[in-house]
């Protein structure tokens, strides 16, 4: 049904004869399943890699708790935004994109402030390989699943959809790496935990229109 040259009445007739029962899509069910699945998968990967030895001590630090809380909020809001964006009219809640973006800005300001306080120290290059590898392990399957869910929808904002997908999955990876990697230096976190995925996100963004075409 892709030819538009045919007569409109004929087209309407064909569309009517092609009509099936179309149960309204629920924006919450699929994304809830994804969130639960992604968290369960992350738990498994974290258990496989091994939780950082000083995790108990970190739980006492308000800065660590703040960082994890804001990452969780970004994860939830970005995945919800991603789900709403998979509707042509964004479920008539266009403001939803602003929340994860604002939270991400707060998160960036927080990391810059911490970098200024602690100084930008860099650890050796070995960590880059091992953190990037673990990060990819944590993110790749949830990313494929989320992109697939968005592809099943009918987004009219493909770039925003991809941005929300990547933001949700990146924060999932960030949380996972903060639970497994015991290097707390901001230079390390920014360049080893965030930068490889920022590059991946930019590369994926180039294909957003093609991926989410309908």
């Amino acid at each position: 049904m892709s030819k538009v040259e045919k007569n409109t009445d004929e087209l309407i007739g064909e569309l009517c004869s092609d009509l099936d029962i179309a149960k309204p899509r629920c924006p919450y069910r699929r994304i809830a399943v994804w969130l639960i699945g992604a968290i369960a998968y992350l738990t498994l990967v974290v258990a496989y890699i091994g939780i950082r030895p000083d995790f108990d001590m970190q739980l006492m630090k308000s800065s660590f708790l703040f960082e994890i809380s804001i990452a969780v909020l970004i994860l939830i809001s970005a995945s919800l935004a991603s789900s709403w964006l998979s509707f042509p009219d964004c479920f008539q809640r266009h403001w939803v994109k602003i929340i994860p973006v604002l939270l991400f800005v707060v998160f960036c300001i927080w990391t810059v402030v911490r970098s200024l306080e602690d100084g930008m120290k860099f650890t050796d290059g070995l960590h880059l390989v091992h953190c990037a590898r673990e990060g990819i392990m944590m993110e790749i399957i949830p990313l494929i699943a989320l992109v697939f869910i968005t592809m099943k929808g009918h987004t009219t904002q493909p770039y925003w959809s991809m941005a929300m997908n990547v933001l949700a999955v990146s924060t999932l990876g960030w949380i996972g790496l903060r639970l497994t990697c015991s290097v707390d230096e901001m230079g390390h976190s920014l360049f080893n935990h965030l930068l490889p995925f920022a590059i991946l996100a930019a590369a994926l963004g180039l294909f957003a229109r093609k991926l989410f075409k309908w």
Partner: protein
Amino acid sequence: MTQLSDAEQWQEWATKAQAGDKRAYSSLLKALHPFIRNIIYKGLSNSDAAEDISQEVLISVHKSLNTYTPDRPFKPWLMSIINYRKMDYLRKYYAQRQDVTSTIESNPEFMSENVTNSNHSGELRDIERALEQFPKKQQDIFRKIKIEGYTTQEVANQMDMNESAVKVSAHRMMKKLQGMLK
């Protein structure tokens, strides 16, 4: 009985269509088509393109019917699809246009739409050919005065010439052209 507005009526038909009611669906699509076409036509002023896009929108409505939830207004949902398809069309159109070069002669459609009297198009080409037979400087003087609308004083200043020499050159060329085109 209260009269339903267009949007409310569409909402009702869309809800019935989701349940598989083909008659309601047919009424919905028939009612949407002129609305969609008018909206697109306002922005494009090309009836063929407006018709193409409105058919694309109808197909998109069909594909994404399950993304409409009856408790939300119908019109914003439809408008999102219309705008998306329109932008899609314009993107493709401008992308194609960048790769295409054409001349007036090879585009009779453009000629018939944009040249006031297409019977004169052959004469215009004859004039162009005749002009090319003159020296470059004389052509420039003629074009500036007779086609681009500069005054003889302005042309004289631009070409660093005497005003009367410019007038004489343009006049002589006009006479010669008339002779050549008789």
